[in-house]
Symmetry: C2
């Protein structure tokens, strides 16, 4: 049993001064108690928060950051031209590359203050669609990366059946993703096996890619596969996607799910960007989490999520780093809030009379992330995994701050440099802002990048 | 004469490998030449860029960062409720406070990659509107801060006559700003005198605050005061401001200027947010710089600038850090581009067939900043001040990159941590990512904050 004592900590009932958090050998919080001074042998910190779960990542895409800003031959650059580049880029990756890039992205997630990640992964086969000897090769590589970084992992193997709503075959850039529903069941079993070497906080979920890429029976089979596990699906990132679904499935994506799928609290709807009023009311009320990826959704020109309407309808939200072009929890949250401000011509849009903007955003990301990963986390409470963040009290904008003002300073005036320590299920993965394995993880990533960019 | 040799440098004619930049004792670039290897005695760097000028700052507002996220009694939080908080906050500041906060903000500007700043300052009098013994007290304090940080300063004393377009008296939060046109002429002289202790790259300009705060004769007198100097004015940050101007002046702000003022290349129009098509065409064509402050304009819910239309009309743009809630040049530029993407549902919106998004943004900020400050800078060229930035070639997203890919990586995947060195008019103000006077500047700022936030 170890104890971390904090001068200020964010507890489920609110901010508290003088808090001792006891952590057991498995990495769970054993007890939380008030203590005016640090108990003997305790590690002490100034500011302690529950850590947020990153609910959506395609780790491989980290390697494309900054490489897609040249205009292609298309007169209009868009999500769709970017997706074409992304398919071509991913097609070069070997399993070693995947492991190296994933470890580097996870390292950056930890430095950004995330303690866990849901990895939504579809690069199932070798180039050309040739199966790997182990069908869960990619799952195993992602798990190996998590073993090196210590991040809390939720593996989300993806069902990807065809190249569009009309059932067209996979394009050349997609053949590495393809699975039948039967093959997917084996992948999901493989993902569960791939977690065996990891600590017990690791988990997995089921990820039918989107209504663009799955069939009705495929979706039904995937949803039925593991009724105890989270279900993640891309929902409505782009207007063209909504139109395609509407034409082929006879309804908008959210509308179709509400009428035909058991959408509810175990669902995480990624990119709930283009919803109409009925979809907002229905999906928010279902208890599903809206999986928002504000930086990526800005970078890809997806559009502005209806956060105010969704929250007014009681909807849950969480944060994903998606393309990983920037890893920053504070930056994700302020990007979300600022998108609402730009749309509405208003300030402190998500604040409530009782809680500041930063507090509302952080609390929502804690709850939504934990729910989406099916991970006992999101609060400093006995029984949860010890997913914790300590902020640097000497950072200029944190010095002398208390309560919600700490979160406001981190989210609106701060960045990753304020993150001093991160514990993932009790593993002290970031200390003094650094990870113990930074050197080798960066060296392996650099070797991959040297080949990919021809440097 | 000193020489900096760079493996890659951005020159007016484009990227070049092996560039020697000779800098004279005054801090001007004496010569730029191609050299395959570093000349003897040269400092060497991997990546050298011209540094951008920050064209709009209210340094004092830095101290409010993260402190305005609690909802006030107003049901709707907005620019206007924030402005009320800001007036109250500024009313507590002494000249010592101003100097300490300004130095800290300038330090962060330099670490963000800016080499110079236009300080738009209106805190002319003591609390209650009581004149200081030296009417240019604030100018002197800002100049003193610049002397400590080494930033290239353009002082912009502000003409602020009344509390609204209807000529109403200054409110209690505004009495420290008030000047008559005659008083303003003395302030402008005082600003010029306050620059005397600074190196010769320092300059000043004239800042009629906005059509909300000046009279017709006041504006005309200010514009006529120094025909050789830049004129900076807030233009159209909020819809309510446009409506107020329209009611009182008989035209929208840009429309009125086009018809009644000699708007042209020496003008910098801050917050050109709410313009109609005729204003875009007229003002862009006038040669004026649109002074954009993307982070602040997001934070205050101002709205999305029509960057695509403005650029298509040949308009110049530059970047200001305004409220200084975050100091980040890369973050400002990507916030600008992302606002366009969210509005248009497109990517690489400001890219051209010849130049990547990052290159277009950076080049525009260089040219617009230099023009707005009236500062010989914005390009590595003989005769300009040696305003330079060296980026860290070991940063993960810069490693192995070349040409425009460097700017894309910094702006879209990077942040201030990539800034290794900054020279302002040859003064080596940032080295290894740090400023030599960080310790005392931070200590002085902290002492001010301790009082202001009651810590």
């Amino acid at each position: 049993m170890r104890t971390i004592w904090a001068r200020q900590a964010l507890l489920p009932q609110g901010w508290a001064e003088g808090v001792a958090v006891a952590i057991d050998a498995a990495g769970r919080i054993a007890a939380v108690s008030r203590a005016p001074a640090a108990p003997e042998g305790a590690e002490t910190r100034a500011i302690l928060l529950p850590a947020v779960a990153n609910l959506h990542s395609h780790a491989f895409q980290r390697a494309m950051a900054g490489l897609t800003e040249r205009r292609g031959p298309d007169p209009r650059d868009s999500f769709w031209t970017w997706r074409h580049l992304m398919f071509r880029f991913l097609d070069q990756l070997t399993p070693d590359d995947i492991e190296a890039i994933t470890a580097f992205a996870q390292l950056e997630m930890l430095r950004a203050g995330f303690a866990s990640v849901a990895e939504f992964h579809y690069l199932h086969h070798a180039p050309g669609g040739v199966p790997y000897a182990d069908p869960a090769e990619t799952s195993a590589r992602i798990a190996a990366a998590a073993q090196r970084t210590g991040i809390g992992l939720a593996l989300l193997p993806v069902l990807y059946e065809h190249g569009g709503c009309d059932g067209r075959p996979l394009g050349p850039g997609q053949v590495r993703f393809g699975t039948t529903p039967e093959g997917f069941a084996r992948l999901a079993e493989g993902a569960a096996r791939a977690l065996a070497p990891l600590p017990p906080d690791a988990g997995f979920g089921i990820a039918p890619h989107s209504l663009r890429a799955v069939s009705r029976p495929g979706l039904a089979a995937a949803v039925a596969l593991r009724p105890d596990r989270p279900i993640h699906m891309h929902l409505a990132e782009q207007p063209a996607e909504v139109a395609e679904v509407q034409a082929a499935w006879g309804a908008r994506p959210g509308e179709w799910l509400l009428a035909n799928a058991p959408v509810g609290p175990r669902w995480c709807l990624i990119h709930a960007t283009h919803l109409d009023a009925a979809e907002i009311a229905g999906l928010a009320g279902s208890g599903a989490v809206a999986g928002l990826c504000p930086i990526t959704e800005s970078s890809l020109g997806d559009g502005i999520f209806a956060a105010t309407g969704w929250r007014a309808a009681g909807g849950a939200i969480g944060i994903g780093s998606d393309s990983n072009i920037r890893l920053g929890l504070a930056e994700e949250l302020r990007t979300l809030e600022y998108s609402q401000r730009l749309r509405d011509g208003a300030r402190a849009v998500l604040a409530t009379p009782a809680q500041s903007t930063g507090r509302v955003l952080y609390q929502a990301a804690l709850a939504g992330g934990a729910q989406a990963l099916g991970r006992a986390s999101g609060a400093i409470a006995a029984g949860n995994w010890a997913d914790l963040v300590a902020l640097d009290p000497e950072a200029p904008d944190l010095w002398g701050r208390a309560g919600d003002g700490i979160l406001d300073a981190w989210i609106f005036a701060g960045d990753n440099a304020m993150v001093a320590d991160v514990w993932s299920a009790g593993r002290h993965v970031i200390a003094g802002g650094r990870h113990a394995a930074e050197g080798p993880i960066w060296a392996a990533y650099r070797a991959v990048m040297a080949r990919l960019i021809g440097a």
